[in-house]
């Protein structure tokens, strides 16, 4: 029997039978959920309420500036720049007389920054107030008419379709962003968890002094590859369990939906597929379920899952080989490992940050290049793919990214193999990057 296969099997079976495997299989999805719910909560908390005091030399802002729950305005005459904070206002707006056809500067004073979004919001409210004032002044429109137009004009809603030649498919920016984000985080976490597991495994073999016993039966490269593939298989098993778990949850959720609602949902789906407006009014529950299934149905799951597996395996091989090299070079001391790990963990963490940008701007230069270069492609490309292939991600980019990742992991595995071969039998002082470089390219 092939020896690498024997090693792979041992790595796999000892790990899968371990309690920590079961524990992490259930804890990791929980952690992801907590992470996402937490960040959504924090983001929504970010919309704090602002009260803005206004000192207006024109006199009309009082009538036209519209406040609501996010930003409210105060126009008391006793407000000035010295006392607005004491009176409970977050900022003070000082608007001088605004002559027509001339740019005039107005000022905002604050103790604490409003934030970019709130400042932009405030600016557009002021612009709207000026427009409203001018319309009222220059036309014969009544004030109440103007107000009612403002109120009732929000009747259009955008629905986006991905145009891939033959059929236009309904897509959802929200779903794509969420799926991209989750895929990116998962690959990031899996790379770290399993990369570190490879490193610890190699260190264990070295410090246990079993490495030399084994390499007298198999080649060091076989030992390293067996470990990498065995631990990788554990990762795939874990991922498979999550997918099964998720599908189970979805089926369970569908069973909870009453039959008649399900029927309505189907009608909605058919109507949407034919592009006709819904003939009969659907119940509110059916609408919600329809929206939810629409959310789940919109991304191309087959492609995403295939790509996820590819990028998980590719990224894992790319980084775990480097982790194995570090593990072989250090001794018992975990601190030594940490300093050598830094050049490996940095690009992974960096990729994570690029990923958060990529879900905002999946077609941008940074996202595009980072999703092609093998150091960051597993994480960043997975954030882009849910936005559509070949729309957002052209086929050539996907192909190039995959080819480079394959070339990348062949290179790192080859290089790690050479470092590993020397490092695994060497005890004593920690090697520097320079000596490891020598092992890789000169020995």
């Amino acid at each position: 029997m092939n020896k690498t296969w024997l090693i792979t099997r041992r790595e796999y079976s000892t790990r899968v039978r371990n309690k920590t495997f079961l524990l992490s299989t259930f804890l990791l999805p929980l952690m992801v959920i907590v992470f996402i719910v937490g960040s959504v909560l924090i983001a929504s908390q970010g919309h704090s309420r602002h009260r803005v005091a206004v000192m207006d030399a024109n006199g009309y802002f009082k009538d036209y500036l519209r406040g609501d729950s996010a930003i409210s305005f105060g126009f008391s005459a006793d407000l000035d720049t010295t006392n607005y904070a004491e009176k409970g206002y977050t900022a003070m707006l000082i608007i001088p007389v605004l002559p027509e056809k001339q740019k005039t500067v107005y000022r905002l004073k604050y103790k604490k920054q409003l934030g970019l979004a709130a400042a932009a919001d405030l600016e557009s409210r002021i612009d709207n107030a000026i427009v409203d004032h001018m319309i009222y002044q220059k036309t014969s429109i009544s004030r109440s008419m103007l107000d009612s137009i403002r109120k009732s004009s929000h009747i259009a809603q955008m629905k986006s379709f991905e145009d891939n030649g033959k059929v236009a498919k309904a897509s959802s920016q929200g779903a794509s962003t969420a799926v991209g984000y989750v895929s990116g985080i998962l690959i990031y976490m899996l790379t770290f968890i399993y990369g570190a597991a490879v490193m610890r495994g190699v260190m264990e073999e070295k410090t246990n002094r079993i490495a030399e016993v084994i390499v007298s039966s198999v080649k060091p490269f076989q030992l390293m590859m067996g470990k990498i593939t065995g631990i990788g298989a554990v990762g795939l098993t874990q991922f498979l369990l999550w997918v099964i778990f998720l599908f189970g949850l979805m089926i369970f959720a569908q069973m909870l939906v009453p039959h008649d609602v399900l029927k309505e949902v189907q009608q909605l789906q058919q109507a949407n597929a034919m592009g006709t407006p819904t003939a009969m009014p659907a119940s509110e529950t059916a609408q919600k379920v329809y929206q939810a299934t629409g959310f789940l149905n919109s991304p191309n799951w087959g492609l995403i899952l295939t790509c996820f597996l590819f990028y998980f395996i590719g990224g894992y091989l790319f980084y775990s080989a480097l982790f194995a090299a570090v593990g072989s070079a250090v001794n018992e001391d975990i601190q030594e490992a940490q300093s050598l790990m830094l050049p490996i963990t940095m690009p992974v963490i960096f990729s994570f940050f690029i990923m958060t940008i990529a879900v905002q701007d999946p077609g941008g230069q940074l996202a595009t290049w980072a999703s092609i270069i093998p150091f960051s492609s597993p994480i960043v490309m997975m954030a882009r793919i849910p936005f559509g292939v070949p729309g957002t991600v052209p086929w050539w980019q996907l192909g190039l990214s995959m080819a480079l990742l394959v070339a990348g992991f062949i290179f790192t595995v080859w290089m790690a193999g050479k470092i590993y071969r020397t490092g695994i039998l060497l005890y004593g002082k920690k090697p520097t990057w320079k000596t490891m470089w020598k092992w890789a390219f000169k020995a």
Binding site: I7, E212, V213, S217, K438
Partner: protein, 312 residues
């Protein structure tokens, strides 16, 4: 037939010549001592023989064919000095796994492990983990996993370290049994008394070079100093005997130690004492111990290897 032949083997590391042109041959079924001070290059030499390192230069013949690390490795059992086992793995499972890595099928490996466990009275260990074993027990297990696949060449690096005398003897007996059955054993150690007890043949390396090669008896002959112990009644009475043939270099209870001068024979000593009317009770040659030879050859050279730059 030679099981192993090594020709001009060289392995240079950046800071030292670990093995510098070593040659030797090894007959089948012998027990062979590989001796040398710390850092002499023994481990590097062994790692080349076991296919872990590739030699920079030179040739290794295994059973008179060029050594093929992939194919021949299954006929070699190596117990390194730096040895260990997976701590969390069950002992039976681990022994079977290591035997499978040597090319045995699972059934065969299991059968053999059980056999050896019976032989070493380790049957009850099967489901224990290595972390539950004492150091000595671990060494026994390690020995079993080294010889389990019936290798034709067995290399043991300091096999007795950490073993009590009872277990040492158990392993010693097994080494002799394996040699009788036709396995060749390379035995690397610093412990000279064990070498004298076990080995037929030795080579001594120092600073990457072979400085001695021969049978244990032959080496002792080579380094003998013509010392004899002559037992005499009343050995320590009277004036010290004096003659051209020998020189008294010491005395023991009831015996004198004499060194026979060049050009003379033991009979000259005996005739001297007989002519003096002394009663001889014993007469034996004193051969140097391997320990003495080792110290004599190695002393004076830097013990710990100096990290001299390689100028090859």
């Amino acid at each position: 037939m030679d099981i192993l032949q090594v020709k001009d083997l060289k392995k240079y590391f950046s800071s030292q010549k670990a093995v510098d042109s070593i040659s030797f041959r090894l007959g089948k079924g012998s027990i062979f001592g590989l001796l040398g001070p710390n850092g002499a290059g023994k481990t590097t030499l062994i790692r080349m023989i076991t296919g872990i390192f590739y030699p920079d230069e030179g040739e290794i013949l295994f059973e008179e064919r060029p050594f093929n690390p992939v194919k021949d490795i299954v006929h070699i059992g190596y117990m390194p000095e730096e040895r260990g086992l997976y701590k969390k793995m069950k002992i039976g499972e681990q022994a079977v796994y290591l035997a499978q890595l040597k090319g045995l099928s699972k059934q065969e490996a299991t059968r053999k492990v059980k056999e050896w466990f019976v032989k070493f009275e380790m049957q009850t260990w099967w489901n224990k983990k290595v972390e539950d074993l004492s150091k000595g027990m671990g060494q026994k297990l390690q020995f079993v996993t080294t010889v389990l696949h019936e290798p034709r060449l067995i290399i043991l690096d300091e096999p007795f370290s950490g073993l009590d005398p009872v277990n040492s003897n158990l392993i010693k007996d097994q080494i002799h049994t394996l040699a009788r059955k036709g396995s060749t054993i390379i035995f690397s150690t610093h412990r000279m008394e064990q070498v004298e007890e076990i080995c037929d043949h030795i080579i001594l390396v120092n600073r990457g070079q072979k400085i001695l090669d021969g049978s244990v008896a032959g080496v002792k002959q080579q380094f003998k100093e013509n010392l004899f112990s002559i037992g005499l009644e009343d050995a320590n009475t009277g004036p010290p005997p004096a003659a051209d043939a020998f020189e008294v270099v010491g005395s023991k209870e009831g015996a004198l130690i004499v060194k026979i001068q060049d050009g003379h024979r033991p009979n000259d000593v005996l005739s001297y004492f007989i002519s003096k009317g002394r009663n001889i009770t014993a007469f034996t040659e004193i051969l140097p111990s391997l320990n003495d030879i080792f110290i004599r050859l190695v002393e004076g050279t830097p013990l710990a290897r100096q990290f001299a730059p390689v100028t090859a």
